[in-house]
């Protein structure tokens, strides 16, 4: 641990990131350019989130790291270890006990509370990128609030499929001003972005952008009056904990087409099972899980 500064990054880098975070907080939904550093893990694997987390951590923190909602996926394990090694912080899998949560692709099911920080790993921060590849152009669009293109795209979906065919990384409009990419979370999670008591920070390392949603900020999923936004999920209950309203992973259980659905949020699922909830294929909690 003595080989590195607290939380790995040098102080000047942390100051630069902290200044960017504060500007992001002051301009909700706006992507602040920052001089992302080359981290000892590959771009695209959470370098932005890691830098934001490193800039936020204090020794007293309890850190939770999830990937796809799960604490034990290999990349989550790797990032959690990185901070245990370089910052010596305590770690937890319990959402309610964590002070800082770094996530990839999910917002935990357990509602967050004041004093918590949720750090998202973001691959492509620009919500307009797939409509217009040029940064020089999309920056202009944000400046002029020219969001017609994205509405046209959503509308074309409706014309072709009868509904909006965007199921994750579903764009939101923040405080009536900036259109923002919430990172590739399923649109099921979008409603949790808005009016959340926690601070939400978004870090895109390779693309060198940080943005933020302060607590209790409005974030409206783009839609049309006759095609309102719907937060959808697999139409099942969790087969382990019987939760009806949590986001589900589909697991293929044999080569005959059998499948089961389980909570993608492993902490949520385990807590429910510990509390005695048993799903279709579950078994009463025995403490071995």
């Amino acid at each position: 641990m003595n080989d590195y500064n607290f939380a790995y990054l040098d102080e000047q880098t942390k100051r630069m990131i902290r200044r960017a975070i504060l500007k992001g907080i002051a301009i909700p939904g706006y992507q602040v350019p920052f001089a992302s550093r080359e981290m000892p893990m590959p771009y695209g694997w959470g370098t932005g989130g890691v830098q934001v987390t490193a800039a936020c951590l204090v020794p007293e923190d309890r850190l939770k790291v999830i990937d796809q909602g799960a604490d034990d996926t290999t990349n989550a394990v790797s990032i959690r270890r990185f901070f245990q090694r370089t910052a010596g912080v305590a770690v937890t899998e319990a959402t309610a006990e964590a002070t800082v949560i770094q996530t990839r692709h999910r917002i935990p099911e357990t509602p967050l509370s004041e004093g918590q920080i949720l750090v998202y790993q973001v691959p492509i921060p620009e919500p307009l990128r797939f409509l217009e590849p040029r940064e020089t152009e999309t920056r202009k669009m944000h400046e002029l609030e020219e969001y017609g293109l994205i509405h046209v795209k959503l509308y074309e979906d409706i014309a072709r499929h009868g509904q909006i065919a965007t199921s994750y990384a579903y764009p939101v409009k923040v405080e009536g001003r900036y259109v923002m990419d919430p990172s590739p979370i399923p649109k099921f999670d979008n409603p949790k972005l808005a009016d959340n008591p926690a601070i939400q920070l978004f870090g895109a390392g390779r693309e060198q952008r940080i943005y933020a949603l302060p607590p209790h900020t409005s974030a409206v999923s783009l839609d049309f009056e006759d095609h309102p936004f719907v937060a959808s999920k697999a139409d099942h209950a969790c087969d382990l904990c019987a939760a009806e309203a949590s986001y589900l992973d589909e697991v293929i259980t044999d080569d005959q087409g059998s499948r089961m659905f389980v909570c993608s949020d492993t902490d949520f699922c385990q807590s429910r099972r510990a509390a005695g909830h048993v799903g279709r294929l579950g078994h009463p909690a025995t403490g071995d899980q």
Binding site: Y4, D10, P33, F34, A35, S36, R37, E38, M39, P40, P42, Y43, G44, W45, T47, D67, Q68, D72, T73, T74, N75, A76, V77, S78, R81, R104, H105, R106, R134, E135, T136, G162, Q163, A165, S167, Y168, P184, P186, K187, F188, R206, Q208, S232, K233, A234, D239, L240, Y247, D249, E250, V251, T253, V262, S264, T266, C269, L281, G282, H283, Q289
Partner: protein
Amino acid sequence: MYVAVKGGERAIDAAHAWLAEERRGDTSVAELSTVQIREQLSLAVNRVMAEGSLYDPDLAALAIKQARGDLIEAIFLIRAYRTTLPRFGASIPVETAEMAVSRRISATFKDLPGGQILGPTFDYTHRLLDFKLAAEGQVPEAPTAPARLEPVPHVMGMLGRDGLIQSEAPGEETPPDLTREPMELPASRPLRLQAITRGDEGFILSMAYSTQRGYGRTHAFVGELRIGTVAVELDIPELGFAVQIGEVELTECETVNQFTGSRTEPPQFTRGYGLVFGQTERKAIAMSLVDRALRWKELGEDFTGAPAQDEEFVLMHADNIQATGFLEHIKLPHYVDFQAELELVRKLRREALASREAAE
């Protein structure tokens, strides 16, 4: 009974142990030392230094060993290490006109002050596998010529004296640092050059090649290519003058390109510039072509839509560490977004089939 997949930590540890074993290979074969890599795989070392943006042959050799010879992985190791280094100061610009050259050629003049020096080049080797090397043959000593003490002025300076090549005004401003500030577009030429010199050799090569085949053609001649060492000097405020702190090997390429002119300006040649750490000739030539292609706006040329003219396209995709990271990240779990897509496609199919049935 279903048990959720666990054991990520154990899997990672086991993978690392296996990797270490594979790296070492057959233990009955002698282990490769980093000194051997530094001395005998020096062009790989040079590439790692150039794209890692860190001039340290020993570290580059270590990175190559650690990366099992995967040069992009080695560059990555160097980059990640480089970020953690404190900065003690900035050198004054190196003077390539005073380079101690080991190779210097011009494609534009048959002979010139300082002479043409072939140096240690593959150029005229016949690409025949040399089986003597497999048998660890002794290398006969190369003949040496007496050192030429005459200066080796830049070819461009000679053209410039007659006003035949566009002059580049010396810039007093400290160039921006790509590794300390976010990339801002449109980029200045110093920023572009920084991005290209550390850009992926293969990408820069292909971009340059595409200009030769007509996608943003600039009619380049190699005005001069020189490889050698230059002194690195640091201003010491307490002393009031600069002192030499070391030397680095560089490859510099300047191309002479198609002339431009207008009613007010008589025609003159323009130039592209390449400067890369180490003996990295392919990269330096490619860099100068891409630099020249990106200068279309400043030189009043047309944007023909060629990839090599497109600053944002070139600069945002030249970095192999960014590229490989993002490319390879798609092997990470995407269960959640894939599940969202799966549900959507099922729903769309259900509705499409239902409406087809209703129609029938």
